[in-house]
Amino acid sequence: MLLQDQVAIVTGASRGIGRAVAVDLARQGASVLINYQRNATAAEEVVADIRQAGGDALAHRADVSDESEVAGIIEATLSHWGRLDILVCNAGATVDAPLMRLKPEQWHHVIETDLTSAFLCCRAALPAMRSRQYGRIITMGSLAGLAGNVGQTSYAAAKAGLVGLTRALAREVAAEGITANVVAPAYIDTDFIENVSPAIREWAINTIAMRRFGTTDEVAAAVSFLASPRSSYITGHVLTLDGGWVMP
């Protein structure tokens, strides 16, 4: 197992990509804190799935855009397991609207949830990683942050911002055994894309080299690799999973 005895935090882990990441990290041997904001039932299901497979997990409710609640995530992790090796900043939201109709409160909501949350989580996680001179930080970017996407100016700005945040952080902590990388998926089969219109879906499928959307398990596999000791010389990288679409 790649992650024997390690401890991980996954934000937004009750469903979709976050859930798959948490389950895969646990399968690789890590104990995982399952952060969620609203759906306690779904989060407890993830915990139950992991425990049933012989793994170790704990559900923890927190709003990742709230400084004190983020501190609570770290406290819960350290008091339960005594260490922190892996942080996956996955929690995110999007409010799609053309720029002319995008309201400031919608903009703020997306920036807070997708970008500021990563700042808060990374900052809170650093002392525990620094004390052991080891850490793996993975932020969940998006192809939209690299190539842009119609109706997603706020989401694209937040996800592009994550790249800048992650790379700057990677340079700050590189000498301390901590790496920071971005995983940037394109269209992945989650309830995120159920809202995408059939016309857009068809256009996307026809322009993706692999002619299919990715799966949450495929994103999780990339995260697990970057979360493992085997990625020790990779930092500040943006690992895109786009099935050969844009190839940024």
Binding site: R171, A175, E218, R230
Partner: protein, 249 residues
């Protein structure tokens, strides 16, 4: 990551990154055929490492800039083991010296080995991979491709060419579930690093966020990830393994 039953071809497998890839894949159960151009003793050492660990590997002497080498390697792998799952192009040649001193022969040699050699092996590997509708191709590039590097314009051109080639082939081969990616190392402890003058090396190490050079095994880990079933939705990508040097492109 288990590669039991899979067959891999590695070019330039006698030393450096190529050797680390051979050993890592063989340790995980793959049967590995690798080629080397001139270092027979180093190739024998690589074989000994694999065999002592209970792995399966064979070596053949071949120059990847020879247009017949790709076909010969693929034929040899198919005759021995009946299939081909993975191709890793590690064979590389590098010199050092400013443009005004760069001879046409040096330019041609670097392009022929680092870029055209990749074309030859990939073309040969495609048919058996297409027949089984599965394949993993990983081409070694370098940070030179996106960052440029003084004294190595030829190598920069060749490794950038590898990335363009990789993306195009990724688009062509996706329909057969063949992924094609490249890995772009920075300063890695191999003999290739020895040609770089001390002051240039110091400049590079000053830029690397981790303030250290990489080990061949760390690059091999990235190659093995891309060669595994874990990387099934990643194609046309260049995975940088540079300790946080470039962080762009």
């Amino acid at each position: 990551m288990d590669f039991t039953g899979q067959v891999a071809i590695i070019t330039g497998g006698s030393r450096g990154i190529g050797r680390a890839v051979v050993c890592d894949l063989a340790r995980r159960g793959a049967k590995v055929l690798f080629c080397y151009r001139e270092r027979g003793e180093a190739a024998a050492e690589t074989l000994a490492i694999v065999h002592n660990a209970g792995g399966v590997a064979e070596a053949v002497q071949a120059d990847v800039s020879d247009p017949t080498t790709g076909t010969a390697l693929v034929q040899a792998a198919l005759e021995r083991w009946g299939r081909l799952d993975i191709l890793v192009n590690c064979a590389g040649h590098v010199g050092y010296g400013p443009m005004e001193d760069m001879s046409t022969a040096r330019w041609r040699n670097v392009i022929a080995t680092n870029l055209t050699g990749v074309y030859h092996t990939c073309r040969a590997a495609l048919r058996p991979m297409m027949q089984r509708r599965y394949g993993r191709i990983i081409n070694l590039s370098a940070l030179h491709a996106s960052g440029g590097f003084p004294g190595q314009a030829d190598y920069s051109a060749a490794t950038a060419g590898v990335q363009g080639f990789t993306r195009s082939l990724a688009r062509e081969a996706a329909a057969w579930s063949i992924t094609v990616n490249s890995v772009a190392p920075g300063f890695v402890e191999t003999e290739m690093l020895d040609v770089i003058p001390g002051e240039i090396r110091a400049w590079g190490e000053g830029i690397i966020a981790m303030r250290r050079t990489g080990r061949p095994e760390e690059v091999a880990a990235a190659v093995v990830f891309l060669a595994s079933s874990m990387a099934s939705y990643i194609t046309g990508h260049t995975l940088a393994v540079d300790g946080g040097w470039r962080m762009a492109g």
